[in-house]
């Protein structure tokens, strides 16, 4: 009865792959009574009787407590005296005493992976009533037979030590990236900080004040920006992006592309060039709330302070070239590629503000609706150097609004736009900006339309209370639409105050949308270069939401800040510290240790179809030069690659299909001897 042609194939592969050490298996089987625990339900003696004669079984014994000193001695003696080279202990679960026996055989010079545990306590005696002793015994016999069949082909698994490169890469120079960089650098680890924009600081530097203390963010972040820029262990790479990533935990090789600034580092930041540049465009950094020149700096305190020329809008008048006192402007600069080697990576690429134009009833961004802005735009309006000079003015006509309505949950908690999550930060920044309006101009009527007020944690509910005390009106209801009167041009917000069951039309001069925090642009390609998984919302997915929220799906790559889901600054900084510590650990120790529970590839059978490459959740497989390659360090030995292979060419060590087949056959009782 040849049951599975596949199993035969595998048997052949098996022959090939281990022809080097073809040692006859000599199996020792030990069945435990566990006092009454097993023996009362399972007839231990009968079990031994039944399996004794199975192929390769050279020792079969039972004992009251296998995990006792005497029991362990029995196992050891069988190796010493009977030349046993595979052991099966039928007792409790593998988690409970598997390691005990593995250690025992290791002490006798066998590889610890040559032990196999059959669970006849939690998996049999404890779950079967004593009255059913015959059935339980039968079941135990089957389980032990399966285990013996499985043990027969067990192979040694080695444990490797892999040296790590003592350097780290941080991607993204927002508050999270800066914190992680600083922490790593302070541990004496060389850090490369890669930032896409021309200066570091991220979104925090765009804010006017930060809740819950309403501090100046520039003041709190500048020690970090300056500190990172001048730290001896930090290599700052602004205007740069990651182009390729290879390798795995301990040893990554990363290619980084740096765009030309067209201004050399000897720029003294005197501003001569910018002052005289004839080209003016709206500043992206200021969300269009101010203008910048073609040669510019993101904001006055920007680090690095070197200017940048925006090639796309520059008319090449040469004014800057001629005016620069140090001759720093150079149009011939080219983009450049740098390859670095690092041991671990921290990803801190932050978030983008959601673009509300997708929500049609709100008309954001449409012609004639200029007085609807987002919170981030509003933060920039309050900036002292903005077009409005920090005054609260309507963008359409520059008048002071009599009333401002804020709409919460724009693009959050909204299945229609695919964002089911609550951003968790906008209730707080909505409150903050409402308070700012009242502080700057108490006469302005501020109304906040919300679904639920989410201000959990210390100081946050207090912050909400402060808003109430300032006379901000809160309406519990999500506006259904914003309408502009075609005759008067007046904006109105249609909402039901659900607490008083009152439908309302709120006429207003200005509307601020509390838009969601969403994954930043370009995050998909970065994710695939890093080979880390994303959540359906688009953020990078943490390893475990509770137990390991800082690690990514891939060993050696860690997440910090809003890239792992919307966060405020407090949370971003906390996670950055954690990411830095985790990233530092293998680098400080200098090596990692790994048991090589990995799949074996039979290249002669592999058709290089690549199915396994896509099945592997850890990016451990790749096809290079028409050959399937396994990254042993990245592989976690899950075996997901095994069942997808059409030619059974990739087989997880000690869980190969032929081994599973043997165990199945042992248990079902089809054939016990192969």
């Amino acid at each position: 009865m040849t049951n599975s042609s596949n199993a035969n194939n595998i048997a052949e592969i098996d022959q090939k792959s281990k022809s080097k050490e073809k040692e006859e298996p000599r199996i020792g089987v030990f069945v435990c009574h566990c006092g009454h625990n097993i023996a009362d339900t399972v007839d231990v003696e009968k079990t031994i009787e039944e399996i004794k004669g199975l192929d390769n079984v050279v020792e079969a014994q039972h004992y009251m407590f296998m995990c006792s000193k005497q029991g362990i001695e029995m196992v050891k003696n069988s190796i010493k005296e009977k030349g046993v080279n595979r052991t099966v202990v039928a007792s409790c679960s593998v988690t409970q005493h598997g390691p005990t026996f593995a250690k025992a055989i290791e002490e006798e010079g066998l590889n610890k992976h040559l032990h196999f545990q059959a669970n006849i306590r939690e998996g049999c005696s404890w779950v079967t009533s004593k009255k059913k002793r015959p059935e339980a015994t039968k079941k135990a016999i089957k389980l032990v037979s399966g285990a013996i069949n499985r043990a027969r082909k067990l192979e040694e698994v080695e444990t490797k030590q892999i040296a790590t490169t003592k350097a780290a890469l941080v991607i993204g120079g927002g508050i999270a990236g800066l914190r992680a960089t600083m922490d790593l650098a302070n541990l004496g680890i060389p850090v490369y900080l890669v930032e896409r924009e021309s200066s570091i600081g991220g979104h925090m530097t765009q804010l006017y004040k930060t809740f819950p203390t309403n501090e100046c963010p520039q003041c709190s972040i500048s020690p970090l920006t300056n500190g990172v820029a001048s730290h001896k262990n930090v290599t700052l790479m602004t205007y740069s992006t990651v182009k390729a990533v290879e390798g795995s935990l301990g040893n990554f090789e990363v290619k980084i592309q740096t765009k030309p600034r067209y201004v050399h580092d000897n720029c003294t930041s005197c501003g001569e060039c910018s002052a005289n540049c004839p080209v003016e465009v709206p500043s992206e950094w200021d969300s269009g709330m101010s203008m910048r020149k073609a040669i510019y700096k993101l904001y006055p305190q920007a680090i690095p302070s070197t200017y940048v020329r925006d090639k796309k809008v520059c008319i090449e008048c040469q004014t800057c070239v001629n005016l620069c006192p140090v001759g720093a402007v150079d149009f011939s600069m080219k983009k450049k590629m740098t390859t670095i080697k690092v041991g671990s990576i921290v990803v801190a690429t932050g978030y983008d503000e959601y673009d509300p134009s997708e929500i049609e009833p709100y008309h954001y961004g449409q012609e004639g609706y200029e007085d609807i802005i987002t919170q981030l735009q509003f933060e920039r309006m309050l900036n002292p150097v903005s077009l409005t000079g920090s005054n609260i003015l309507r963008p359409s006509d520059g008048r002071v609004p009599k009333r401002v309505v804020m709409i919460q949950c724009v693009g959050s908690r909204n299945e229609q736009v695919g964002n089911e999550y609550c951003t968790g930060v906008c209730c707080m920044f909505g409150n903050k900006n409402a308070q700012m309006i009242k502080e700057i101009n108490p006469k302005i009527d501020v109304i906040m339309c919300y679904i639920d007020m989410r201000t959990p944690g210390i100081y946050y509910e207090e912050f909400y209370k402060k808003s109430q005390e300032k006379g901000i009106k809160f309406i519990r209801g999500r506006p259904s639409e914003i309408e502009k009167d075609p005759i008067t041009g007046e904006l109105s917000v249609i909402v039901e105050d659900t607490l008083s069951l009152t439908p309302m039309e709120i006429k207003t001069d200005m509307i601020i949308l509390s838009a969601a925090m969403v994954p930043p642009k370009g995050i998909g390609p970065l994710g695939s270069k890093l080979q880390i998984l994303r959540m359906k919302e688009g953020f990078f997915k943490e390893f475990h939401i509770k137990m390991n929220p800082t690690k990514s799906s891939k060993d050696g790559i860690f997440l910090a800040g809003a890239i792992q889901g919307p966060k405020d600054i407090t949370q971003s900084v906390a996670q950055a510290g954690s990411a830095a510590a985790l990233a530092a650990a293998p680098l400080v120790r200098g090596y990692i240790e790994k048991e090589m529970i990995i799949p074996l590839i039979d290249h002669s059978n592999c058709s290089i179809c690549g199915i396994c490459v896509t099945a592997c959740p850890f990016g451990a497989l790749a096809i290079n030069d028409e050959k399937l390659e396994l990254n042993e360090v990245a592989c976690k030995g899950c075996g997901l690659c095994q069942p997808v292979c059409p030619t059974a060419a990739i087989q997880l060590i000690n869980t190969r299909e032929d081994e599973l087949y043997d165990e199945i056959v042992g248990i079902t009782g089809g054939i016990t001897n192969v």
Partner: protein, 302 residues
Amino acid sequence: MVQDKKYAFYLGCIMPNRYPAIEKSTRYVMEKLGYELLDMERAACCPAPGVLRSFDKEDWMVAAARNICIAEKMDVDLITVCNGCFGTLQEVNLRLHEDEALREKVNEKLKLLGDYEFKATIEVKHVAALLSIDIGPTEIQEHLVRKLNATTAIHYGCHFLKPSHVRQIDSPEDPTILEDFVEALGIKSLNFKQKYTCCGAGGGIKAAYADTSMTILSEKMKHISEVNPDFILDVCPFCHLQFESGQDWLKKNHNINYDIPVFHLSQITAYCMGMDEKYMGLQYQNNGKKYELTPIEVQAND
């Protein structure tokens, strides 16, 4: 494959039984555009998506499927002129296309009504979508005999565009297809407040809760009158009825005379394509009697 350039002409109730001029105009437009309209003998009420669906969704679906079967037998797509009919027939057609189990259930009951079996072979179209999208503002120019120098308040109605994931015609919040189309006829579309809200007729409330229905309509009329259009343009005979009867009601009960004529898109298009004014049915409208059409003749370009 269903036949090209031919449609089963689904009449519904209100159009043939209240506004035959809309039927007349639609036939005119379609013929001039080179389509053949086939009569659907024994077709009945769609049935109305508001009122009749509210009593028994299953019967509603069966009755609708019966109408679609008539067109299926003729092997042509079905065209309607009314949002309500479109709402019912398009939705039922789609659901029965997608859900085989439901189809079986409906077919079971259809047998009791005669020789009917829903086979899922045809599509349901609204004449307004055909004109404004399939033909489109550019091509229609070639068929015009005259344009109209006028302003209008467009009323899309509800069931033409919504639910949008079922209809997939245009955005329900900011649609533009009809605006673009009438512009090609020389007509200027005016923007007014609450332009896309309901006329207040649907859902059975016009019949049973006339007061509420008229209140909704009155607010609508208020916003329309603020921009003073030459006429109201709709794509549905039921909205048409609501605008007409609503103005009468305001006149009778509150002595408010808006006197704004109401046209269906078919009527205006037919007129611009050369149909005689008398077939537009202006003479039957209380509100339209004083209205003078102001055509600009265009050179026919054969």
